[in-house]
């Protein structure tokens, strides 16, 4: 049988409707996909991540999503009593949001680090800091990723 464009379009719509109507039929893997929000909640144990203290630096435009420099710095005296324990880095538009978790201690002197990450498309980079007193701070930046050119 020949399938016309119109018929094919109808089939596609039908399939979409099926998915919308029946989330229970979605493959398990789709259900498990963790979002950046889920990852933040898992990291903070549900506690609120406030803004402030942590600052994230990213380029506003990444010329290639394969190598995007990111850096963060957290305000903290970094003493045994009061320091940054961990910083979670997420990319909310990647197939998996997790990028890295950095571990600090009072021996770090300063809670600052930079790395280079992969971004599949334009999206937010999110950083969440866990302080030794159990509080959480967050910062977020949009990075535009240019895709589809020839890079020359």
């Amino acid at each position: 049988m020949r399938v016309t464009r119109r018929q094919a379009f109808g089939l596609g719509l039908g399939a979409t409707a099926l998915i919308l109507a029946g989330p229970a039929t979605l493959p398990a893997v789709a259900k498990k996909a963790e979002t950046a929000d889920d990852a933040v909640k898992a990291f903070t144990g549900g506690a609120e991540a406030k803004s402030g203290k942590i600052s994230l630096t990213t380029p506003e435009i990444a010329e290639n999503g394969n190598t995007v420099p990111v850096a963060f710095e957290v305000e903290s005296p970094m003493t045994a009593e009061d320091h940054v324990q961990e910083v979670l880095v997420l990319a909310d538009g990647n197939p998996r949001p997790g990028v890295a978790t950095f571990h600090f201690s009072e021996l770090s002197g300063e809670a600052a680090a930079s790395t280079r990450i992969r971004l599949a498309k334009t999206q937010n980079v999110v950083v969440v800091a866990k302080m030794s007193n159990g509080s959480y701070y967050m910062d977020k930046r949009l990075v535009k990723v240019t895709i589809g050119g020839c890079g020359g």
Binding site: T58, I61, P69, A71, S114, G151
Partner: protein, 290 residues
């Protein structure tokens, strides 16, 4: 105070450029090359110079000036430049004995920082024995086969890229200076013909983008003048080092043309011609691009 490690790098870059306005320029629509200066270890590189009179380019710009600060930052410090992993590998290969003759590069050429100084800047160069100009890769392999009795390396292999990056690093900061006269003239002309010939399903030539439209955006990309003074270079897209011929091949695929053979006469001729368009630019090997 700096807000982060990356931003302090960015601040340095801006300071080096002497243009505070650049800090905010990342969001602006890119138009034309930027004027950021390439300074590594206190040494300034020539990335911009007046083009020769009667030539096609009024001002010659290195590909460096067409990249944004984030990409540029990776080339400002040799440690941050991932291409230097290959330079270090190349340094080890330089003195590694290979082949039936029981020799290494160092057996004949001794200290590369002396013997290889300026070599990259003159490539491709006329080779009397071959009766044609040779690219650096071909010179390395000729040496391996004839003098070391070793197997030639593949053009795009890690060994070859490491060796050409290492040899090239000894010409860093020296001006590109290829010969285009004498027996080279015919090859230069052949390269020029390829440069201006419209090919492929999109019917485009090198000149269509890199001479007539440099500085403009092609889809999401900022077109450079297509100089090759930084090759082999680390490209984010490749996530590794690559040769000028690999770049030519990629460009030809982008315009839906059948690429010439990597290491073939056409690409050597094109390499010679493209190098000649950037005479005077500093060798940046291994540069970093997107």
């Amino acid at each position: 105070m700096a807000t982060g490690l990356f931003s302090s790098t960015a601040a340095k870059l801006v300071a080096a450029a002497g243009l505070a306005a650049l800090a905010a320029s990342a969001t602006a629509v890119l138009a034309g090359p930027n004027d950021n200066k390439l300074v590594v270890d206190g040494k300034e590189y020539v990335t911009k110079l007046p083009g020769p009179e009667g030539g096609p380019l009024k001002t010659i710009y290195s590909g460096w000036n067409f990249r944004n600060e984030a990409t540029q930052a990776m080339q400002l410090d040799d440690f941050d430049n991932p291409g230097f992993v290959n330079v270090e590998t190349g340094e080890q290969l330089w003195s590694a004995v290979d082949g039936e003759a029981g020799k290494s590069c160092a057996s004949c050429h001794n200290d590369a920082s002396e013997s290889m100084k300026g070599v990259r800047a003159q490539m491709p160069k006329w080779n009397e024995k071959a009766g044609k100009p040779l690219a650096l890769e071909q010179v390395v392999n000729a040496c391996r086969e004839t003098n070391m009795k070793a197997k030639p390396w593949k053009w795009e292999s890690n060994e070859m890229l490491s060796m050409t990056a290492f040899i090239g690093s000894h010409s860093r900061g020296m001006p590109v200076n290829v010969k285009t006269d004498g027996p080279m003239k015919e090859w230069w002309q052949k390269g020029k013909d390829i440069y201006y010939k419209q090919v492929g399903q999109l019917d485009m030539s090198c000149a269509g983008c890199h001479e007539q439209n440099f500085g403009n955006m092609i889809r999401a990309d900022h077109l450079s003048q297509g100089h090759i003074n930084g090759f082999p270079l680390y490209r984010s897209k490749w996530q590794k080092l690559g040769s000028a011929h690999r770049r030519f091949k990629g460009c030809m695929k982008n315009i839906r043309a059948t690429p010439y053979k990597v290491g073939g006469d056409e690409f050597v001729a094109l390499e010679l011609y493209v190098a000649s368009r950037g005479q005077g630019l500093s060798v940046e090997t291994p540069a970093v691009r997107n």
